[in-house]
Subunit: 190 residues, 2 copies
DNA sequence: TTTGGAAATGAATATTTATTCACTTAACTT
DNA sequence: AAGTTAAGTGAATAAATATTCATTTCCAAA
């Protein structure tokens, strides 16, 4: 018998990502996903129950992927600021290299498609970062401020910087990235 | 003869806002807009050519409204930092009091509905803020950094703070707002 | 108070889009 | 190499949704 091609699931998800980025979630059609992924519409339904199911899987898939990227080169033996800086640059690099994702996760988050339990599950992925911020506060290196405020400040500024530069076709030079990091560090340091 | 009710246009726009916020742009249906606005579907087509037209009008409408709010109590006779702080608090207050807008503008921005010329027009509305930032740099009060970077940093962090707190049903106390402003000021000051 | 005309209505229609399913193809098993 | 079974296909169908339009309601002028 013919066996399921395991790569297809991710092919479909990535094709969907491209389309949402190009045309928005509101313009997403199953027939277009099939075309973009070079397969028949029917095939989509072999891998995912329906459109809603596909979108929930996609949300989790990219949240997990982004968290993996974020954790690159983080080494808890290093001093706090070294790790903080690495994390910040990882986040920015991911947002810059994958401008589609931020847009996508944003749009999905406020759509009738996403199931609440999937949203809750992704929030748990942030725990290691919360722990890291707590450690920074314990060492009195960063301001003793609410974690949600810190997280919102960090993620909001990074995403928006990546988005605006991408939208205007501008490159974020290493110098600009350094300037942006300095702003962030000045903002959070004690 | 019966005359056109001028308020209806804004009634429709506001009803649409509510719905996009509740169900996302992807879930937006003309029939629901009509229900939310307590009128018949056909009436929508008296005030707007079609769905796309309605959404473009709505985008401009709220961009303009938010800029008006932002300019409240700004007085160019005041010192730079006073105005900067007022502007920042105006922006945060608007984002907190109108959590729907940010979500909506975000979603619309990346949709097949929005016409490019409408996007370009809204970008021009930011010019007074760019001028203000330039003035701060001239007085050597803020870092001499790219305006787009500064704007992205400011708007991204504020929007995300307002959004996350609203999403988690948490109130942003005056103390937290002060802390957030201090972070921002530390970030931008020379 | 009558009447002309635009606003408002919402069931009917047109259009778009998700999903199914009868059929074909490919890979594995014996 | 024949048989078996699941993957893959895409035209056909179902479902959802935008838009129209024949009819009714309302207002203002005559």
């Amino acid at each position: 018998m013919k066996s399921k091609d395991e790569q297809k699931e991710s092919t479909i998800i990535r094709a969907t990502l491209q389309l949402i980025f190009r045309e928005g979630l509101a313009g997403l059609k199953m027939s277009n996903i099939a075309k973009q992924a070079s397969m028949a519409v029917g095939t989509l339904y072999i891998y995912f129950k329906n459109k809603e199911d596909l979108l929930n899987h996609l949300f989790l898939y990219f949240k997990r992927e982004s968290m993996t990227q974020l954790a690159q080169k983080i080494d808890f033996a290093q001093p706090f600021k070294v790790n903080f800086k690495q994390l910040w640059h990882n986040y920015l690099a991911y947002a810059v290299d994958n401008p589609e994702q931020a847009t996508l996760l944003e749009q999905l988050h406020y759509s009738p498609y996403l199931r609440p339990e999937v949203v809750a599950e992704t929030d748990k992925l942030l725990q290691p970062i919360r722990d890291m911020l707590d450690e920074g506060k314990r060492q009195m290196l960063i301001k003793n401020t609410d974690n949600e405020l810190l997280l919102a400040f960090l993620s909001g500024s990074i995403n928006q910087i990546a988005r605006r530069f991408h939208e205007n076709d501008r490159k974020l030079s290493p110098e600009l990235r350094e300037q942006a990091f300095d702003m962030t560090w000045d903002a959070v340091r004690a």
